[in-house]
Amino acid sequence: MAKKTNEPKLDFKTDWAYEPAPEDTSHISLKKKYDLFIDGKFVKPNSKKYFATYNPATDEKLADIAEADAKDVDKAVKAARKAFTKWSKISAKERGKYIYRIARLMQERAREFAVIETMDGGKPIRESRDIDVPLAANHFFYYAGWADKLEYAFPNRNPKPIGVAGQIIPWNFPLLMAAWKIAPALATGNTVVLKPAETTSLTALKLAELIRDSGLPDGVVNIVTGAGATGAAIVNHPDINKIAFTGSTDVGKLIQKAIAGTDKKLTLELGGKAANIIFEDAPLDQAIEGIVNGIFFNQGHVCCAGSRLFVQESVADIVIRKLKDRMETLIVGNPLDKNTDIGAINSKEQLLKINKYLKIGKEEGAELYQSSCTIPTKGNFCRPTLFLNASQSHRVVQEEIFGPVLTVQTFRTIEEVIEKANNIPYGLSAGVWTDKGSKIFNLTSKLRAGVVWANTYNKFDPTSPFGGYKESGFGREGGLHGLMPYLRF
């Protein structure tokens, strides 16, 4: 039985409404058709095939994208190999200056990048404008400065570039992931063949235009578009020295296995299922914001999303009530609208996967709760969702859903929550909410995860190393540690 409360119940059925505030799209320039970016030029694919990319919020086609086959990938690798000879030998200062140029150009064209990112991927314009694009530019800016300072990062170790890096990135932060991959690779003197995800190629191709405009020597960065087969061609190419992959744990394992017989170096940034832990002494209103940001940021398409909520039993009722109230205020809809909190699910396929998990969760006996908001009739949308009374063995608790779906479990003691939080194959991130400093340090040292947010969640910065424990992958991106995967000693 819920306790009676004297607090007034929040009423959401008022005349208050947000007027639409859509971002203008007239200033962007998109071509009808995009070719592959190899050796500094856009070239037609050997496959002669193109695939369409859609706006997931409207189902409208945005452009045709070239599909790279193994021959195209080979061409890109050859260009990268040729470019490596020169690029690894030009002065580190010059290398840094090229990267600075890319950073500045991205800042200048930030608005265009943000709008295209939102149109192609479905994320709210507020996020692409305030997070994805500025962070991407800052990432280039940060690593540009490292180019001529590597000797200080690794004293007495004589750091050297590895060679040609094959980089495969996901669809949840398309431009940002491209920046996370390309910036440290260039700063350390490597050359790159990068493949964006097939549903979100556009900002990577706009980045290719920008790189061409920056005057970066031909072949230093090559961008090949396509789906899994294109990625496999990169992974299996004999003249690639390093693979950097961000994506699902399943594909990460396939890649690790595929290159077992080679000397290729590997970094993997894979899935997660983070515990977000709320103690009774936490600042609850801030914690509610942290829970919402943790799971509903970018529609929950975040490998480090706080998708498992653990609430201490004594405050569970109040936290769940406040959380439900806060969810009622979330606006789900047109990603280009500046008021939108939750945009479109990235693809039909992903929406199907999320809906499959909603069904599984109900069948397993967890209690489904969704906000009462309306969602657009066209496009791929999903209401913010809770699974209350979830238990550790539920698949919705153990498996990564990659959508706006939060499981809720309660706990009594700190030992219990540490055990539950760690009892999962993943180890990418975690959240802790408490006012007690010693409790924070106790927990952060015991949670087996690469990033721990204490009294905050989903914060990123170029200077801050990011990456997983256990099956969430290995290697770090960001900060000094992010240089190491691209160097040999």
Binding site: L270, R448, A449, E471, F474
Partner: protein, 294 residues
């Protein structure tokens, strides 16, 4: 009257105890004249699994010890090794080494243990960072041990290879299961006895004797092992190890046993390889009038 010698039984080392292999199997160890010196345990998959459980159970306690304490314990290992020096030398000689080079190997092994003992409370400051993020947060990264490490130690450098493999792993707070040299296993058992009398908690290091062709697949496919290190340059085994490692995204490191005697084998980066970097964020309150220095 000539005294009848008591022969030592060489057994494996799991969870601080010296059991025989559960499989009941053995292989005879012979000297260069072909005489049997002793019978050695031919460890099985089940032995490995038991050892892994011991290593996992020991991980929380060992990784939770203060760096200073770990350093003291590693130094203690070196002290006890020094006391057993003659025994190590005679075992190497029994296995066919010349006395002079046996002495060199034992002394270098002790030096190496001291070297890594010193690193225990120092590498953290090399690999940690405070990260100057642009937002109002305090953000820092520290190194934490990867977990349970499976080690396939050098076949040729039976003591130096064992010590060089184990020291950086445990200096960093990991626990491990080690497959010792098959053809030269004597020192590994004696080294286990050293560990057992050096305040090393039981289960931190577990040592098996046996055959890598049989065991490398089990070492690399176990789902509760976090990393695997091999010193054996066998391309077929390395490939299988890397493939199996993908089952649970194990970290794999292949080291060169030929450089064990050189300075290259001494580096904090051997510790770093088996560390995970953890980044912690916390908000900083922005004090309104704090622009002036205070």
């Amino acid at each position: 009257m000539e005294r009848l010698e008591i022969l030592k039984t060489y057994k494996i080392f799991i969870g601080g105890q010296f059991p025989r292999t559960e499989s009941g199997r053995y292989y005879p160890l012979k000297n260069k004249n072909g005489d049997v010196i002793t019978n050695i345990c031919l460890s099985s998959r089940k032995d490995f699994r038991n050892a892994e459980v011991s290593a996992r159970n020991a991980f929380g306690g060992w990784s939770g010890k203060s760096a200073f304490n770990r350093s003291q314990i590693l130094y203690r290992i070196a002290e006890i090794m020094e006391g057993r020096k003659e025994q190590f030398i005679s075992e190497l000689v029994m296995q066919g080494r010349a006395a002079k080079s046996a002495k060199e190997e034992v002394e270098l092994s002790i030096e190496r243990m001291v070297y890594y003992a010193g690193w225990c409370d120092k590498y953290q400051q090399l690999f940690s960072s405070v990260n100057p993020v642009a937002s109002s947060h305090f953000n820092f990264s520290v190194a934490e041990p990867t977990g349970v490490v499976a080690i396939i130690a050098s076949e040729e450098k039976s003591l130096l290879g064992l010590v060089s493999a184990v020291a950086p792993v445990i200096a960093g707070g990991n626990t491990c299961v080690v497959l010792a040299s098959e053809s030269k296993p004597l020192c590994s058992v004696t080294f286990a006895e050293v560990l057992n009398t050096s305040d090393v908690p039981s289960g931190v290091v577990n040592i098996l004797t046996g055959n890598s062709e049989e065991l490398h697949c089990h070492f690399s496919s176990h789902m509760d092992v976090n990393a695997i290190v091999t010193y054996r340059n066998n391309r077929k085994e390395i490939k299988a190890i890397k493939e199996n490692a993908s089952l649970n995204v194990k970290r794999v490191f292949v080291y060169n046993e030929n450089s064990l005697e050189s300075d290259k084998a001494e580096s904090p980066y051997f510790i770093f390889d088996l560390q995970e970097i953890k980044t912690t964020w916390h908000p900083i309150e922005n004090i309104g009038s704090a622009k002036a220095g205070y």
